[in-house]
Amino acid sequence: MVSSMDEKVVAVIMVGGPTKGTRFRPLSLNIPKPLFPIAGQPMVHHPISACKRIPNLAQIYLVGFYEEREFALYVSAISNELKVPVRYLKEDKPHGSAGGLYHFRNLIMEDDPSHIFLLNCDVCCSFPLPEMLEAHRKYGGIGTLLVIKVSPESASQFGELVADPVTNELLHYTEKPETFVSDRINCGVYVFTPDIFTAIRDVSSQTKDTATLRRVSSVEALQPATRNSTDFVRLDQDILSPLAGKKQLYTYETMDFWEQIKSPGMSLRCSELYLSQFRLTSPQVLASGDGTKSARVTGDVFIHPSAKVHPTAKIGPNVSISANARVGPGVRLISCIILDDVEIMENAVVTNAIVGWKSSIGRWSRAEGVYNSKLGVTILGDSVAVEDEVVVTSSIVLPNKTLNVSVQDEIIL
């Protein structure tokens, strides 16, 4: 085995594209979902900063089909900040996660890495990447998946898998099964050796053969090339399922938290998880205050340095306040995400809510979500104005709306 000191590692983070983040509306109307702030940092920042802990990390690639300019600013800023080159690679069309990796194989292999991490951007976890790498080396396979134990009821929403309890080998893999298979699920975080490209190529050429055979007899082939396309390769069904039980794939189980950030409501939960992780890993980024010079803070709170929070406000737990937001006297914020340039006026209350860019909440107004209600968390889109004394409960408000009466369980279009 090559000494780990000389090995280079690259990380690939799949960020998806504009047709993907639909469940994230109205917040994804303004900003690519991967750049939406979770715990005060863009969603993609969390896997990126986790990559920083990988020894001999040479390069981080973001792969997606958003326009390059949407990521340009962020990519250059984060490269400087982390002192690791970060590059955005735009797919011409969706290739699937394995297909996307394969599509850019020449670039990815440029540094001749010994290992390649593949991470999905919309998962929230502690990303134990160095630990995975170490386990992967011991297993000696071509890939190791991060897995977590979940409740049997929720397992079927994800890729369920069975692993050998002794060797941790992946024995069986099935995506969103109809019947219960296992309470261990795929976290969407992988480490591979370059042999993965051979495995994808093999699958890809098989699909091509099947497609060629089919073309004669099937009208399917006449349909626009999407999922049938020969260069569309899913990682789960096309790679993990066939390679399971062949001593090529192994699992590494995390005992920490894991969530998938599908909906805006989940981003609030994930913000909470990351903020509590900051408490352990980088407590200096969390705000503190006792109500004298700065606002009273309880629990884990992030306040951007450019935000102005009145000392008589009370903030937390689980609050993140983005750049240039203004929080007035006597305001109460609990479990919420306040985005850039928002103004919260005096004595207003925001709880279980996401307040979109440039929105304003009037005096003695409330924006609040009720879990277990139809819409759950209250979400105000970009530039929404909630007038004085108005109560917005468990509602979703699309951009540029003005609310002068209280609403509950409504979608304001």
Binding site: P329, G330, R332, W364, E368, E389, S406, Q408
Partner: protein, 324 residues
């Protein structure tokens, strides 16, 4: 009710009997004693042990209502709010010299009420008949719930469940001994919380025109909007915004940053910092927590605690929240 007692005092009444049903007199006892001293009046209770309707309680309190002088007595329904031209009513009663006088008020939708049909549509008219919830127009004057009765009326009432409007008055009217005086100004049935708040608004408006000194003026850091009445013993914090249409009772503590509008805050209530109460009634000795919200015709009973940041609003139907 205090307004009524004060009006009675102004009309020269010396003794008040509060006819109450079987529910808690304990709440009332405290402030009755206080007002007895303050107004130098005798205030007593007459408590029914079973429901006696609107006339039965008069029979129950018969011994308190009959005076050797043979003078008439007032009967006031406590859940109405209006101006109380009681001296004028005494004058009216003396002028017609008959057995009973009732106050009537003009309403827009008489079909909801019992209409009082008078012989002629003048200011002082003899009552001809009563029509309960008329289907077609018979008149637009309804019973305002304020009566001035000679002691002889008591001879007509048995001690049982009896309705004064349906059983006693029609009989007196048929004997041509009942006269009706039209009530000037506003009148409101405040039996329902929403109506109570509307009645309060009308009453504060009346004060604005007739006794603006009773209302709070904007001062210092506190900002007062519109008509606000606060007991002199109430304490109001900084950066509050109060009004319009707010009444704050004795001993209340309104902490800083509180917003109140369209509401009644009864005696001994504490509204904590940054809370907002609108279109609601907060009952005696209740506490509304910091950043809490009470809205939409919510009625908090006596000694209710609203937790910090809690929201209580009855969008669908009014509900009375009692201490558990």
């Amino acid at each position: 009710m205090i307004k009524q007692i004060e009006a009675l005092k102004a009309a020269g009444v010396t003794e008040v009997v509060l006819a109450i049903n079987h529910q808690q007199p304990e709440v009332m006892l405290n402030f009755v004693e206080e007002y007895e001293k303050k107004l130098e009046m005798k205030i007593t209770f007459s408590q029914e042990t079973e429901p006696l309707g609107t006339a039965g309680p008069l029979a129950l309190a018969r011994h308190k209502l009959i005076h050797e002088s043979g003078k008439p007595f007032f009967v006031l329904n406590s859940d109405v709010i209006c101006e109380y031209p009681l001296l004028e009513m005494i004058e009216f009663h003396k002028n017609h010299g008959a057995e009973a006088s009732i106050m009537v008020t003009k309403v827009d939708d008489p079909s909801k009420y019992g209409v009082v049909v008078m012989e002629e549509a003048s200011e002082a008219a003899r009552v001809e008949s009563f029509v309960e919830k008329p289907k077609y127009f018979v008149g637009d004057k309804i019973n305002a719930g304020i009566y001035l009765l000679n002691p002889s009326v008591l001879d007509r009432i048995e001690l049982r469940r009896t309705s004064i409007e349906k059983e006693i008055f029609p009989k007196i009217a048929s004997e041509k001994k009942l006269y009706a005086m039209v009530l000037p100004g506003f009148w409101m049935d405040i039996g329902q919380p929403k109506d109570y708040l509307t009645g309060q608004r009308m009453y504060l408006n009346y004060l604005r025109k007739n006794a603006p000194g009773e209302l709070l003026a904007s001062s210092g850091d506190d900002v007062v909007i519109g008509n606000v009445m606060a007991d002199e013993t109430a304490v109001i914090g900084e950066r509050c915004l109060i009004g319009p249409d707010v009444v704050i009772g004795a001993g209340c503590v309104i902490e800083s940053g509180v917003r109140l509008f369209g509401c009644t805050v009864m005696r001994g209530v504490r509204i904590k910092e940054h809370a907002c109460v609108s279109d609601s009634i907060v009952g005696w000795d209740s506490t509304v927590g910091s950043w809490a919200r009470v809205a939409d015709v919510t009625v908090l009973g006596k000694d209710v605690q609203v937790a910090d940041a809690e929201v209580i609003q009855m969008s669908a139907k009014p509900e009375i929240i009692q201490k558990v």
